[in-house]
């Protein structure tokens, strides 16, 4: 077996990267400089890109890879350690039980198939999905609302989904990077690619012409139209107003879709004595939060 040719510099970097899952490129670069310092290797900003290439060569033997992309929302370049063998979700997210994975797939499906290229699911709808779960033998294995709620929090904490202020779930950069292969193979036509960067797009702008296939990330659009006096679609050349959005937007913020999340807060380790009254106080707090 060929070895990776890695030194402790590489190994230390990988360990830190695994713990972070997804970093902005600036953080990744900063980490490189710090790891160089600790391992007493010379640091040169210019070498960062080569360093990542080296890592990817060594990681090939375990089918992992650093991938770069620009965040769909902020346009900030990010980098994530991802699974190149991503046909199966199970191999990506081994830490979930079969039922939990099933829920994840249901949500993924609902997000991708959302009407009108909304690419998100309201929290009410997300919880509703939890009641439809079935196992391999087609037996119902519905999650309770409470379990589903906790699991949704975990998906967000693990950076698979992001949750809007209105409570709707959409795909995170981690999902987009790690599930790339899976998404493209599974959903094919449903998946949209940015006309400029060719990466999957779930948040951005679309052409005013309904039949036109142009979709642009916000950051791609601003880069592309920057020097155009009158922006036109890169595909059909009709006028581009940038007002037709795809993905999570204000339409999901309608009050009816806002589901009140209960936070498991503050019973504290010593909360045994005053359990009942504390709960009551909590309820009131929530009412206040909503107003």
């Amino acid at each position: 077996m060929a070895t990776s040719g890695f030194t402790d510099l590489h190994r230390l970097y990988l360990q830190a990267a695994i713990s972070k899952r997804l970093m902005t490129e600036a953080t990744a670069q900063d980490l490189y400089s710090r790891v160089c310092t600790v391992t007493e290797e010379p640091y040169d900003r210019e070498n960062f890109s080569d360093f990542i290439t080296q890592l990817n060569e060594g990681l090939n033997s375990v089918e992992l890879e650093f991938r770069r992309a620009q965040d769909e929302v902020t346009g900030v370049p990010v980098i994530a350690l991802t699974n190149t063998n991503g046909q199966k979700i199970a191999q990506v997210a081994t830490r979930y039980s079969p039922t939990e994975l099933e829920y994840f797939k249901h949500l993924l499906d609902a997000i991708i198939m959302a009407d009108d290229e909304a690419f998100c699911i309201s929290s009410t709808a997300a919880l509703h999905e939890a009641g439809k779960l079935k196992n391999k033998e087609n037996k119902a294995v519905a999650l309770t609302k409470k379990d589903a709620e906790a699991l949704l929090d975990r998906f967000v904490a693990d950076q698979w989904f992001i949750q809007s202020t209105a409570g709707a779930y959409s795909l995170s950069m981690r999902s987009l990077l790690e599930l790339q292969t899976f998404l493209k193979e599974t959903y094919d036509d449903q998946i949209q690619e940015c006309t400029l960067c060719m990466e999957i797009i779930t948040k951005g702008q679309r052409c005013t012409v309904a039949a036109c296939s142009s979709r642009l990330h916000q950051h791609c659009a601003s880069a592309y139209f920057k020097n155009m006096a009158r922006p036109v679609c890169p595909t059909c050349h009709s006028a581009w107003d940038g007002k037709i959005l795809i993905g999570l937007s204000d339409r999901t913020a309608a009050p009816s879709t806002v589901w009140k999340r209960r936070k498991a807060k503050g019973t504290g380790i010593n909360g045994n004595g005053a359990g009942g009254s504390a709960d009551a106080a909590e309820e009131e707090d929530e009412e206040d939060d909503d107003n």
């Binding site: 830190a16 600790v38 375990v62 081994t94 830490r95 380790i269 010593n270």
Partner: protein
Amino acid sequence: MDDESYGGSSSSQRNKRPAQSQSSGSQKRAMREDDSDQGSDIHVPVSKQAATSGVRGAASAAAIPAEDMERLIKDVVRLAIFTAHSESALKREDIKEVLGNHGRALDHVFNKAQERLRDVFGMELVELTSKGRGGQSAEKGTKSYMLKNILPTQLLQGSAIDWESEVEDMGLLMVILSFIMVREGTLQESVLISNLRRLSLLEESSSFGDITRKLDVLIKKRYLEKFKLDHMDESGEKVEYEYRWGARARVEIPEENMVKFIQEVFGRDAPPGLEVAIKKASRPADSEAPTPTASAE
């Protein structure tokens, strides 16, 4: 209420635990009850099993085409890496599942995956051991594994790497582990709570959030073990529990690091002879150190 504290400048002469002797008998009974909850603590040493199946394993491994073998090794490495930060340990059964119908080659694949984990990530899988009933018996394998960092400690100790939120939780863990350590390896819940309260960690504003939940997570991650005692706490209203170092803490955190940690907390206020005092406090008067070496009983 117990008034010992490790946050202040007072030192370590006050470490005789009256609770220790009174609980040891009743503890056994309590722990037996607990065993049913800890399903993963199967008391079969894996090393023994591996030794007997080794020859067979090599033979069946030879029958697997190189390409498939490569696939299996990769899968096991990735499984290990992806569970590295999960709350539960990697079970031998999980590995078997990855191997599918090549289960008999497990030992061979496992060894190859270990080589690759060391080469690429500077980590290796270590079997968690169970100390059995409150550390009274010899350690046993549990068929559960966790990743251990094998990079030189001076690389890991440098504050060069920011482990983010983990740092806070690890800080909390280190504090709790040191409380336990200087009390001969066991700490009653009521004492733990009063200590945490003294550090203002139970207040609403504490950045640790819900400490009860944090403790549960640490137990689940096997950094801590919690045993039910059969008597009430000092208030006489709640059942008393006892905390010990968990299997994962024993693997991951060498005693030396712990001593260093406590010294750092004291900083310049460290009284002379602190290190000796810590080590003395960590050993029960009637038995060996609560370190990974098997004790006589």
